[in-house]
Amino acid sequence: MDAVAPAPAVEHGPSLRQRMAARGFDAVTLLIVPAAIFTLLLFVYPFAFGFVLSFEPKAGGDWLANYRRFFSDPFLYKTIANTLWLAIPVTLLNLLLAVPIAFRVRLMRRQRLLTTILVLPITLGTVLVAEGLLNYLGPQGWFNRTLLTFGLISQPLKLVHNYWGVFASLVITGFPFTFLLTLSYVTGIDPALEQAAATLGASAWQRFRHVYLPLLMPGFAITFCLSFVQAFSVFPSAVLLGEPAGVTRVISIAAATAAFEEYDYSMAAAIAMIMGFVQLAIVVAVLASRGLFYRGPASGAKG
């Protein structure tokens, strides 16, 4: 607010309403209030509540008891490693596949058919993909049957109810997500930059390495983060397609078990907080490394 003392002279100055309007607060700004209250009530408050609740163990004990239990019980703390062991390879694979494909698709005239096909698994959702893959990748499924027919394998591969089932489902739902994000970044770069490099005699690899890659690095970092947090919170496919008591006991399963089987909401909140913290740590690490790369305009402007 203005530092002008509200002396009796205030009747000559602008009214409070006018001064607020000058700063951008008027009736129109108030339209934001319902959505803001809604988000505060159903997003910020639950998070804060869960954070506090995680320090109030159900079984009693001191305020860190939940966290101590999590990090002393291998059945619980191993879920972090299990989840990372799934999420990081899947995210890297999706990104490594998405980048060259996006570079190829960017040259296509009719991208819409391909993007529509790729949107299918995202819209169908992880539950349906899990159900489909259970049959398709099963020992009698078409995938194994095709490999057997071509003589590539002598007996069916075990692809469901283990690590690879979850891995496959994360690729099927995660790759389109990563690809469409990557494509939107790749098409956002002015092709004139590449043409300039080509005119100067740069090969395809040099154009990628020295022109596109530096410009795309921030976009790739964000794509990696978004894809990673999605993969890290994998839940339905880890239960249905994986081995929920073994290698694919991911952290979401641990949290859901604590909440709905043990009815220990305090422990569940603690696990959710740990889950959020690990995601945040990875995202911060990736985004911090972004600072090592080029930052600046991605369009070719004449000086």
């Binding site: 700063r23 951008g24 607060f25 009736a27 129109v28 700004t29 934001i32 319902p34 959505a35 803001a36 809604f38 997003f43 910020v44 408050y45 639950p46 509540f49 869960g50 060259p100 190829r104 819409r112 993007t115 949107v119 299918l120 698994p121 995202i122 819209t123 169908l124 959702g125 992880t126 539950v127 349906l128 159900e131 489909g132 049959n135 009698q140 499924g141 078409w142 995938f143 099927i172 790759f175 997500f177 469409l180 994000l181 939107s184 098409t187 956002g188 043409q195 947090v229 999605q230 919170s233 839940f235 339905p236 949290a255 909440a259 909401y265 909140a269 696990i271 959710a272 959020g276 995601q279």
Partner: protein, 280 residues
């Protein structure tokens, strides 16, 4: 456009298309497996089932009480679409038209529910909803689903509103329109394409929104995707074909809306927020 004609780049292009082809073929084969199985009489150890039947659909319909589940699903989706439209469009209007202290903080607040996976914030949210007694009820499911959809509508609508010239609104004001009339006769018609796109995207996302519904739904407030999850989870109790028939019902429900949505939106918008596509 640059064309590389070396052998290496041709091989590279072939390898890329082979990868895309492999992915697409597997995707369609997976979907075809579900559809084939739902029409199969008996399908064990052969390429195709021994015979064809449609009886699994009627058995799935009665076993899983699909009619009730579908009604609940559409009620939830209708409520979510309506409320997120009402809350999201008004908030987007304020954010697009006014600049005020704390705006960046608010935008960040609306971004977070979209960036944080639903499983992470869903568990504390479910805890709060269980304590208030809302969990397990219809409105609990609606409230949970609104958490990511309201910010989604806001962020999709901001660019749409920004591109409408404020002079049009000023003109309407000069001719004596009050806020309500301004909204109904001027803004709503101009914003209709944007609102339609945003709400269709919300609809498609809500049908497939598993985690939040799963965390807060009770037996009478399950949506189709959660019912499907429980059916697959308890596989062995029911015939596989019956579950697959239910999966096909779910797929058809989703795909109808996806096809409608794709008439109005770009497929990439389902993943990214409405982003101005560069001119090709």
């Amino acid at each position: 456009m640059i064309r590389d004609t070396t052998l290496g780049s041709k091989l590279w292009a072939a390898a890329i298309w082979a990868t895309v082809g492999f992915f697409v073929v597997n995707l369609f084969a997976m979907i075809a497996t579900v559809v084939t199985s739902s029409f199969a009489t008996r399908w064990l150890g052969t390429w195709l089932p021994a015979g064809w039947t449609t009886r699994w659909y009627s058995s799935a319909w009665s076993e899983f009480q699909l009619w009730d589940v579908l009604i609940v699903t559409f009620q939830v989706i209708g409520a979510v679409v309506f409320i997120s439209g009402a809350l999201g469009v008004t908030a987007a209007y304020a954010l697009a038209r006014r600049d005020f202290p704390g705006k960046r903080l608010l935008v960040l607040l609306f971004l977070l529910p979209l960036l944080i996976p639903s499983m992470t914030f869903g568990i504390p949210l479910a805890t709060v909803l269980y304590q208030t007694g809302l969990a397990g009820t219809f409105w609990g499911v609606v409230a949970a689903n609104l958490v990511p959809t309201v910010p989604f509508v806001i962020l999709v609508m901001i660019p749409f509103i920004e591109q409408i010239d404020p002079k049009i609104e000023a003109a309407a004001r000069v001719f004596g329109a009050n806020t309500f009339k301004l909204f109904i006769y001027v803004l709503l018609p101009l914003l209709m394409p944007g609102i339609l796109a945003a709400l269709l995207l919300v609809l498609v996302r809500t049908i497939a929104m598993f985690e939040l519904t799963f965390l807060v739904a009770g037996p009478t407030s399950q949506t189709l995707v959660v019912a499907l999850y429980y059916a697959v989870f308890a596989a062995g109790v029911r015939a596989v074909q019956s579950i697959d028939a239910m999966a096909v019902v779910y797929m058809v429900t989703t795909l109808i809306w996806l096809i409608i949505a794709l008439r109005f939106v770009n497929p990439t918008q389902i993943v990214t927020r409405a982003k101005q596509q560069p001119a090709h």
